[in-house]
């Protein structure tokens, strides 16, 4: 009991939570290994493989050449031959050089084998900007990956979920894309979101893939988001509370499968919906969530839904421009005010 209390109060960054989940699975399952660029002695550019090389060595924690097509394709082949690879695409923006291995092989081999040749692997990749890295190193691309069938897609917003989702992803017999937002990693140089560093149990546990979390309960408005956007929503909810409004915050946690029920139940209660997404405005997560609510026969919206998303522009370098474009709590509050005015 004392140990449990102690472990429950131990806070970890998302990066350390990911590394801990990976290490725990590697200890119990010799099939699990990690490969990617700079995942070895460096411990990952974003810290999420730190300590693994020292514990497991170069055989199971493999630095690769800068050859994403080859090593992600190799992960597919290894997964179908009895291994459980965790492979890292350093920045999700780099998907352009290797998408074929991801969506034509990783995502389709299970289906094209009638389920007989599964591909149990994790593709972890960093998302998000906010630190002036411009449009080839700052995108989220949640919608891009979630749109293509055959891959589960998870997006944790905090260290607890990151550990549980990583453990679940490694144990899953399907390919799972694990999209972690850089601002949540606990790397100081990326503008760390403090709310992401939370208590994380020391023992291994899973967070169910496909189950959203109601992070904050409320009656007047439903805010739906994922990853770093959840923290913007929580700040907005706090601000709205001071105005006398009660906002419910839903953290999707998983895009595939998507927990539409939790969103619909919340909107059925509040009647108002704002979706917050750091990914592009059009054809993405925000549109999908709004459609999922609107097309349901039980839909009872009291106001037209809104979205606070990244504009349909490449991500600019200048801090003034990038920060202007990014979602934040003020924009969410303003969207809610507009919603009341529109009505």
């Amino acid at each position: 009991m004392t140990t449990a209390t102690k472990s429950a109060s131990r806070k970890l960054t998302t990066a350390r939570a990911m590394a801990e989940a990976t290490a725990q699975e590697m200890r119990i399952d010799p099939r699990v290994f990690v490969m990617g660029e700079d995942v070895g002695p460096l411990g990952g550019v974003f810290g999420n493989t730190r300590g693994l090389f020292d514990e497991f060595g170069a055989e199971r924690v493999r630095d690769t050449p800068i050859s994403e097509t080859a090593f992600i394709g190799a992960a597919v082949g290894a997964a179908s031959d009895g291994m459980r690879p965790i492979v890292e695409l350093m920045f999700v923006d780099f998907f352009g050089v290797c998408m074929d291995a991801i969506y034509n092989l990783m995502a389709k081999n299970t289906y094209f084998s009638g389920g007989k040749v599964p591909v149990p692997m994790v593709l972890m990749t960093s998302t998000g900007g906010g630190y002036s890295d411009a449009g080839q190193h700052s995108q989220c691309l949640y919608g891009t990956f979630a749109h293509l069938p055959g891959m589960k897609v998870v997006v944790p917003s905090n260290a607890f979920d990151a550990k549980g989702l990583m453990t679940a992803a490694i144990r899953d017999d399907n390919p799972v894309v694990f999209m972690y937002h850089k601002a949540l990693q606990g790397m100081g140089w990326l503008g760390t979101e403090k709310g992401a560093t939370v208590a994380v149990p020391e023992e291994a546990y899973t967070v169910e893939i496909g189950k959203a979390a109601v992070t904050r309960e409320g009656q007047d408005l439903t805010l739906v988001s994922l990853g770093a956007g959840v923290h913007h929503c929580l700040r907005a909810a706090q601000a709205l509370e001071e105005e006398g409004f009660s906002a419910e915050v839903i953290d999707l946690r998983s895009l595939v499968p998507l927990d539409r029920d939790t969103v619909r139940e919340s909107v059925a209660k509040t009647g108002r919906l704002i979706v917050v997404d750091e990914d592009y405005h059009s054809y993405g997560v925000s549109g999908e969530i709004i459609a999922s609510v609107a097309e349901h026969p039980g839909c009872r919206l009291r106001a037209a839904p809104k979205r606070v998303a990244y504009p349909d522009i490449p991500i600019p370098f200048a801090p003034t421009m990038e920060q202007w474009a990014l979602p934040n709590a003020d924009k969410i509050v303003a969207a809610f005010h507009q919603m009341l005015t529109d009505n």
Partner: protein, 326 residues
């Protein structure tokens, strides 16, 4: 490295089996597609890439492999699947899109997966390379025997995937063999118009691995090169590259008018099947009666697979929703 008499007959038998399968598929494919060619019509709709002429590549390599070894093949996969021992009934049923097919009809002829013999193929040029490297890595890490062979066409040697995969395999000294079936044409573009070097085998030098070149679609030349490369891989000495000059006796796909081929070029191609038959007869490895029996047996095997496919049902359409995940 010389094949035994038994291995020669094995290679010949699988060439016959593959060729007859292709001839029957060709005939069945054209059902419903005349007088107007519509790819969506007939008992076998969709693209169809026949392997006639390329059989030496498949049999010369697969003669050295067991079911436990891994093969990734291309969009033109039938000869390799036959030589690798893919379940012929389930393969033909898959080509027909039937419930009894390898994937219940979800994959079709370009996406054949038979886990029992570790065979897979992909419709995307060069994309079997990464998975072959990964399967080889899996065997190396698990300390299990087995080599992986990635078959590609000569066009794929100009893909980034080729260079990435060869480099990665060499860096990690993996038990993998890369086999280029050089049929001289990437759909309509001739090799010399697309490839900066006369021989792709020389590209092995760039990755510190042996490169073999097999001229003239020579069955036993393939056998010798593959034997050396696969033995090397089994001994843990790393990857090799084999380039085979082969011939595409059919078009890129069924319905290809092949107007791009220079006049007389196709007529000048040598069919490797009668040539190998003659060689085996001359060597006394095969006699006329033995050949007739072997051919009859192969034909009956193919006919049985076709009957199996034709008599099988389709899955209900809504089964399309299944097996996205396991």
């Amino acid at each position: 490295m010389q094949p035994t008499a038994e291995q020669r007959r094995w290679m010949y038998r699988h060439m016959v089996l593959s060729r007859y399968l292709e001839e029957r598929i060709e005939a069945l494919y054209m059902e419903g597609k005349t007088p107007v060619f519509n790819m969506a019509k007939g008992p076998i709709p969709g693209e169809m890439h026949l392997s006639n002429g390329q059989e030496p590549c498949a049999v010369g390599v697969c003669a050295h492999l067991t079911a436990d070894d891994i093969v990734t093949a291309t969009h033109r996969p039938h000869h390799i699947a036959v030589a690798k021992g893919v379940d012929l009934d389930a393969m033909v049923a898959e080509i027909f899109g039937k419930a009894t097919g390898l994937a219940g009809g979800r994959g079709g002829h370009m996406h054949l997966f038979d886990g029992a013999v570790n065979f897979s193929c992909s419709g995307i040029i060069g994309e079997g390379l990464g998975p072959a490297v990964g399967a080889a890595l899996s065997r190396q890490m698990q300390g299990k025997p087995g080599v992986a062979v990635a078959f590609i066409g000569e066009g794929a040697a100009n893909q980034g995937a080729f260079h990435e995969a060869l480099n990665l395999a060499a860096v990690w000294q993996l038990p993998v063999v890369f086999v280029i079936e050089d049929n001289a044409w990437g759909i309509s573009v001739a090799k010399q118009a697309s490839t900066a070097v006369p021989r792709n085998a020389t590209r092995a030098d760039a990755y510190g691995m042996p490169g073999h070149h097999v001229a003239d679609n020579d069955v036993e030349g393939v056998y010798a090169a593959a034997g050396e490369a696969i033995a090397r891989a089994r001994e843990g000495l790393g990857p090799s590259l084999i380039e085979i000059e082969t011939v595409r006796l059919a078009g890129h796909f069924m319905g290809d008018g092949e107007d791009y081929r220079p006049e007389g070029e196709k007529a000048g191609l040598t069919d490797p099947l009668p040539r190998y038959r003659a060689a085996l007869l001359a060597a006394g490895v095969l006699d006329e009666a033995g050949d007739a029996a072997l051919v009859a047996e192969a034909h009956e095997r193919v006919e049985a697979a076709i009957r199996f496919a034709q008599q099988s049902d389709f899955l209900p359409p809504e089964a399309a929703l299944e097996t996205v995940f396991v």
